[in-house]
């Protein structure tokens, strides 16, 4: 009897289906239908000089075939590389921070910390990006210092670092907030027990805390990574036109040269790549840390 009552809530009943209706309707209208339109557009033939494709344009694979170039693969690789690095670095910052906020401060200061990070999330990406540009960019006060240290603000490495820093502005608060709950759910007595049995603190954390937090870390990573690969404003402002993310190429296609079919094809490819990465990452992590 007790077992049955425990199982009941996990089984979807017919009565719960109407609860899906509002969200399902919104998703159908605002996500699936536009995505279907985008998908169809990506197969339409574009005539140079026109605005998008015509309604009766013939269907073609040309918009996808033209993406099969080393240069385009390079754009994807650049977007994924910078996004991956920024996400991993972000987690390196966020995990100890979240751990310290969970275990090392009083509930009152924890609330203050959470409030601070939530406030950071409210700050527009544009504002944060321009703050970085004004400090480290062309007219920034730190520019003479960088030059005196032999660091060229126009160097490729510097620009990529600045774009990564722009992504971290969002990743660190978001990942910290995501990880707070994860760490709170780890019983601290497990680490205490390991240490009481002679394990050094670092080993206890590495073998107990980290594996138990792996699902939370995966969630935080996926949030950070999907945000990063679709970032548009950050590479546009901080990338000086030399670091281009896929989103910037999509914008160029849609807004500047009005080649919607090509923009749609790139969007679909980006969407597919992002889905594949999320699937593989989730699958691997869940397989290893059930």
């Amino acid at each position: 009897m007790e077992r049955e009552s425990r199982k009941r809530p996990t089984q979807p009943g017919r009565g719960s289906l109407p609860l899906l209706l509002p969200a399902g309707t919104v998703f159908m209208g605002l996500f699936f239908l536009p995505m279907a339109g985008l998908f169809l557009e990506s197969f339409r033939l574009y005539v140079p000089g026109s605005i998008g494709s015509s309604a009766n344009a013939p269907l073609t694979f040309a918009n996808y075939l033209e993406l099969l170039t080393p240069a385009f693969a390079g754009f994807f690789f650049e977007t994924l590389r910078i996004s991956l690095l920024a996400s991993l670095v972000g987690l390196l910052f966020a995990f100890p921070l979240a751990y310290w906020m969970t275990r090392g401060v009083s509930p009152r200061w924890r609330a203050v910390g959470v409030g601070f990070f939530v406030t950071l999330m409210f700050l527009s990406v544009l504002v944060r990006t321009y703050a970085l540009e004004l400090t480290f960019g062309a007219a920034g006060p730190l520019r003479p210092l960088l030059l005196s240290l032999g660091i060229s603000p126009n160097g490729r490495g510097y620009i990529e670092t600045l774009v990564g820093a722009g992504l971290l502005h969002y990743i660190v608060p978001m990942a910290t907030l995501t990880l707070l709950g994860t760490i709170q759910n780890v019983d601290p007595r497990l680490v205490d027990a390991a240490q009481a049995l002679g394990a050094p603190a670092w080993k206890a954390h590495l073998t107990i805390t980290l594996p138990l937090c792996m699902r939370g870390l995966l969630a935080a990573f996926l949030f950070a990574f999907t945000f990063s690969i679709s970032a548009f404003v950050i590479p546009m402002i901080l990338g000086k036109g030399r670091v281009l993310f896929i989103s910037n190429l999509i914008y160029n296609r849609f807004s500047e040269i009005a080649d919607y079919p090509s923009g749609a094809a790139i969007s679909i490819v980006l969407f597919a790549v992002a889905l594949a990465i999320v699937y593989v990452m989730s699958h691997q992590v869940l397989k290893r840390w059930k």
């Binding site: 000089g49 036109g241 807004s255």
Partner: protein, 354 residues
């Protein structure tokens, strides 16, 4: 302390009421139109022009990004048009004409067109005039004399190692890619034979001299004023403010460094209720007096032959001999048709080298 008698207070209230009624009647008499303009000095100039007439009251909408960015928004709502006119240039007009959105204009509907050189007016396949030109701007090489380590006199100077990271170069969606046409001309090609231009563009990208690829007008201005870069290829409005504060060398009359001219103007839309007031307002805007005012404030040379060109725009005034020597007039139809292909070529061949 100010004290008023009851009579004075009533008189003041009556006067204020009369002014308010007059103002509201005037506003009510003016026909509302919606126009899309560029921001900064351009819309300031247009607001000053609007204030000098009372036939229309303009709801100003600003371009966000390049002038092409408005096109998808128009297409999304067409055949319902939201704008009476959209300010643009040859590039955006071309797309609008292909979509058949525009009202043809004539000297009968816009009489001041009689004072605009007909050669420059954008036409459709039938030869109808499809936009009203108001001014001309230049796209050319320039540099800051006070901080440039070299005196730029030719395309070859752009490859000087002293200019490492010091050149601001337009991105693929800026300046109609005339920057590569300029390189092509230097290499013996032109807009129909761009291979020499792309070869030089690769060489320039590999040289490391390009410090910034500018994708917005602000990028050009900020990079030059901050000293991040010292020179490059610019269009006129990007330099107007810079020239007021810094010693700028505008290479509009330098052999071997071509100057390109573009027109800005008005595209009048079909399916709008206030066509005649819109045409009347545009006619007023291109009158000699308003053309002079626009040139003074917006920094683009007037096209009305009776208008006065301000001293600050003398670098865009060419004698016929100078015009032949320094100005290159590309086949804009070819340039605009190739934008898609050139942008993709930039992404494939140039961007990876930057």
């Amino acid at each position: 302390m100010l004290s008023l008698t009851r009579r004075q207070a009533l008189s003041a209230a009556a006067a204020a009421g009369a002014v308010a009624v007059f103002a509201s009647r005037r506003a009510a008499a003016a026909t509302p139109i919606t126009a899309v303009e560029w921001g900064g000095d351009v819309v300031n100039a247009m607001k000053q022009i609007e204030a000098k007439q009372d036939k229309v009251q303009v709801n100003w909408v600003l371009h966000q990004g390049g002038s092409g960015a408005i096109l998808p928004k128009i297409k999304a709502t067409w055949p319902q048009a939201e704008y009476d006119y959209v300010a643009g240039w040859e590039g955006s007009f071309s797309g609008m004409i292909k979509e058949d959105w525009l009202v043809p204009v004539t000297v009968a509907t816009v009489p001041n067109l009689a004072d605009i050189p007909q050669k420059i007016i954008v036409k459709n396949a039938k030869g109808e005039w499809m936009a009203v030109p108001r001014a001309v701007g230049g796209i050319y090489f320039a540099y800051r004399k006070d901080i440039s380590p070299v005196e730029i006199k030719s395309i070859e100077d752009l490859f000087d190692p002293k200019l490492k990271g010091k050149i601001c170069w337009p991105g693929p969606t800026q300046s109609m890619m005339l920057q590569v046409v300029a390189l092509a001309l230097h290499g013996g090609g032109n807009e129909r034979n761009m291979d020499p231009g792309w070869a030089l563009m690769k060489k320039l990208a590999e040289s490391g001299n390009i410090g910034r690829i500018a994708v917005t007008d602000t990028d050009f201005t900020t990079s030059l004023t901050s000293g991040e870069t010292v020179g490059g290829f610019y269009s006129e409005p990007q330099l107007t403010a810079v020239a007021k504060s810094f010693p700028l060398v505008r290479l509009t009359k330098q052999q071997g460094l071509p100057t390109f001219l573009y027109q800005s103007g008005f595209a009048v839309f079909k399916n709008r209720p206030n066509l005649q007031p819109t045409l009347d307002f545009i006619n007023f805007c291109i009158s000699p007096e308003m053309s002079s005012l626009y040139a003074e404030v917006a920094g683009e040379a007037p096209l009305n032959v009776k208008a006065k060109t301000p001293d600050s725009l003398k670098h865009l005034a060419f004698t016929p001999e100078e015009f032949d020597k320094y100005v290159y007039v590309p086949d804009f139809n070819e340039v605009l048709t190739q934008q898609d292909a050139w942008t993709k070529r930039w992404e494939n061949e140039i961007a990876p080298l930057l």
